[in-house]
């Protein structure tokens, strides 16, 4: 009899979602789906608003990564004004994004995902969260929380507030770097570096030992990878052009402009999820599956451009790169965690370089103009991947159409494939009609989603306190059995 097992909600992610496991007549995993069950409607209710409000409105999409929307909206605004922000403004925006990526990655690694590998997949679900981590290893938990605080504090020092700052505006930014901010950042950088060094050391040991299995089966499959790259293919987080590579490390498309995104990105819709399914158009749907985010950014780039980060990138590739790509490309989605740590290094080194730049402290930081274009696309690298904002405006600058392509959507196909792979690996035996599926196995299925650090809304369930519900359903939808985790 065909059955469906539902994991609802998926915990320790940002937003609301559920997973269903579909069993065939023999009780084996036939399919698995990651459902995003919330609807926000931002694209519609922005219509009619002045484009100058878009940075303020879209930043409210999320409390974890408001900076990503702020920057994408400001960059789209630059194009509507047809101006180039002054060089200092571009550097300041870069610094803001580096701080944002740092704090978001620290949150993903320490608060949301590390309880799985540090406390163990089999540990008590009630303790398998950041509070359990505090109890088990208070020093590590404290260091992780302070690393996130470092990033958040840089956001506040630049933008005036940690969350939902409106500091980046069409044409540039509002205020320069202050002497006090520079001083604070310089004082706290060594501690932040020490924390990420500790996390890398710890993680690599786990990778050599207990995490090998997960590294092998958590969404390890060939796919395309997409990300921004700078001149010479350097790692990039805000400027640059779009590159696609395949699992063999071959460049599939390069120097693509965000302006032309509709020519290479399609957006499919499925009836069972509110999250769209973007795909690489030339390969069609769903074969055009591609991944974005930390793993993709490290895969598409030639180098990061700072010494420690480049050394970590080399080790990342040497440890996890596939033989088919000559060690150049890492295909396991579990490596998103390692990639996040490498990117934190890149962010800290990037901030260190920028904070020494005197040009950030005075001079022109904002270009002003009237509306000069009716349509524009802006792009930035959010912590979770490439983010596109596309606006159309009327003659008066009022929004007539908005399209937002968020990173989590672009990883949607990959997340679904990851869930199927994990379910088949850990639920390999046929499931009897009355049998219950052990919780640690279901946690691994959830953890497959957590690799991508999906950000489904501005709500967070970091404490892992939400109930996990599993339902066994017959082909006609009748409930056969249910289990509730509190």
């Amino acid at each position: 009899m065909t059955r469906t097992i539902t994991i609802d909600p998926v915990t320790r992610i940002e937003g609301h979602a559920k997973i269903t496991l579909h069993l065939d007549d023999d009780g084996r995993i036939a399919d698995a789906r990651f459902h995003v069950v919330e609807y926000r409607g931002f694209e519609t209710f922005c219509e009619g608003r002045p484009f100058t409000e878009m940075a303020g409105i879209t930043a409210r999409i999320c409390g974890i990564c408001p900076v990503s929307h702020l920057l994408a909206a400001a960059k789209t605004g630059d194009k509507l004004l047809a101006v180039q922000p002054p060089p200092a403004a571009r550097k300041l925006r870069r610094m803001l994004n580096l701080a944002q990526i740092c704090q978001s990655h620290a949150l993903s690694f320490f608060h949301l995902s590390s309880p799985d590998f540090l406390l163990g997949w089999e540990s008590d679900p009630a303790q398998r969260n950041v509070f359990g981590l505090m109890a088990a290893d208070p020093e590590l938990a404290r260091a992780g929380i302070r690393l996130r605080q470092f990033g958040q504090q840089v956001l506040e020092l630049l933008g005036g507030r940690k969350i939902h700052s409106a500091w980046a505006v069409p044409g540039g930014v509002r205020t320069p770097l202050s002497a006090e901010a520079r001083q604070w950042i310089l004082e706290r950088l060594p501690e932040a570096r020490a924390t990420v060094a500790l996390a890398l050391e710890l993680y690599k040991k786990l990778l050599d030992g207990p995490l090998q299995h997960e590294q092998r089966c958590f969404g390890d499959f060939p796919s395309l990878f997409m990300g921004l790259v700078g001149p010479g293919g350097r790692w990039e987080c805000i400027d640059g052009l779009i590159r696609f590579i395949d699992s063999d490390g071959l460049i599939v498309a390069d120097d693509l402009s965000e302006d032309d995104y509709a020519s290479f990105l399609g957006e499919a819709v499925e009836s069972w999820s509110y999250l769209k399914f973007p795909y690489y158009k030339p390969r069609g749907y769903p074969d055009g599956l591609y991944r974005v985010g930390p793993l993709a950014r490290l895969n598409v780039c030639e180098a990061i451009g700072t010494p420690w980060a480049d050394a970590e990138l080399a080790e990342f590739r040497q440890r996890s790169g596939t033989a088919a790509s000559g060690g150049r490309v890492v295909t396991s989605s579990f490596a998103y965690h390692h990639a996040r740590l490498v990117e934190i290094v890149a962010c800290l080194e990037g901030i260190e370089q920028l904070v020494a730049d005197d040009s950030l402290m005075e001079g022109r930081i904002r270009a002003r103009a009237s509306l000069n274009a009716h349509e524009a696309v802006g792009v930035s690298e959010a912590p979770r991947g490439t983010l596109f904002h596309h606006y159309k405006v009327d003659d008066d600058g009022l929004i007539t159409r908005v399209n937002l392509i968020i990173a989590t959507g672009q990883n949607n196909l990959a997340m679904n494939r990851t869930v199927v792979q994990i379910a088949r690996e850990f639920i390999s035996e046929p499931v009897a009609a009355e049998a219950e599926i052990p919780e640690p196995l279901l946690n691994r299925v959830e953890a497959g989603i957590r690799c991508f650090d999906p950000c489904l809304s501005c709500s967070t369930h970091a404490a892992g306190q939400m109930p996990l519900r599993i339902e066994l359903r017959s082909a006609d939808g009748a409930l056969l059995a249910a289990r509730q985790r509190q």
Partner: protein, 239 residues
């Protein structure tokens, strides 16, 4: 110059003849919330936030539009007045669509300020979410009618100080709205001199400069009085 002596919440105060109760309250060092009042413009008593009680009369009077009289005993903070003021502010919020989070005037908004002053933490009335216009046809300025509280400060400053009378009020009740010209797009009204006084006079984020983004609106609400003093008393700010 003749003087009237009266009391405000028991404090004795003397004001020149012709002064309003609002002048007397301020002279006594007391605070009264206002929205439609702006120094330098003719009072209209529209927002009802500055209502005060005159002891013995039982009637509530708008302090901005009531002349101070000899021997008056003015009460500004009775429980009834406080309840009415809070209710009036709640109704302002429920009537329009005021989303502070991304408003140009966030942090520099008189409606926000009075909400804090009257202790409003939520509105007891259902939000109406009216479908109103955003007119951004002017090259420099725009008006978002969702944020308009019909204080008519723009109407008065344009008429009394600038002398252009671009703004006026149309319709009644729920349909009541501020208009430009003969209800034409602002950008097409030839009388507009683009002076920006309406932007400075607007207490909320309804009228704003088009390149202002979230929380960027800066206003100079003292200017109507400065201009009036310059014109009528030949007193200039830089003298």
């Amino acid at each position: 110059m003749s003087v009237h002596t009266l009391t405000v919440d028991g404090e004795e105060v003397a004001v020149p003849a012709g002064a309003t109760l609002l002048d007397a309250v301020r002279a006594a060092g007391a605070e009264l919330p206002t929205l439609c009042h702006l120094d330098g413009l003719t009072p209209v008593g529209a927002c009802r936030l500055c209502l005060v009680e005159l002891e013995g009369s039982g009637k509530l009077q708008p302090a901005c539009a009531t002349a101070a009289g000899e021997g008056m005993a003015v009460l500004t903070q009775t429980p009834q007045l406080q309840a009415y003021r809070r209710m009036a502010v709640e109704l302002f919020f429920a009537e329009g669509t005021h989303v502070c989070a991304f408003c140009v005037a966030n942090g520099n908004c008189e409606l926000q300020d009075v909400a804090v002053a009257v202790g409003m933490d939520h509105s007891r009335f259902p939000y109406q979410y009216p479908q109103r216009r955003v007119d951004a046809s002017h090259p420099h300025f725009a008006i978002d009618h969702h944020r308009c509280i019909l204080c008519t400060r723009c109407v008065r400053v344009c008429d009394e100080i600038e002398g252009a009378h671009v703004w006026d009020v149309a319709n009644r009740g729920r349909e009541c709205t501020i208009i430009t010209g003969l209800d034409e797009p602002w950008g097409e009204v030839q009388a507009c001199t683009s002076c920006g006084k309406c932007v400075d006079a607007c207490p909320t984020g309804a009228i704003f400069r088009k390149d202002d983004t979230t929380a960027e609106k800066q206003t100079h609400r003292e200017r109507p009085q400065l201009l009036r003093d310059a014109r009528e008393k030949h007193q200039w700010q830089n003298q």
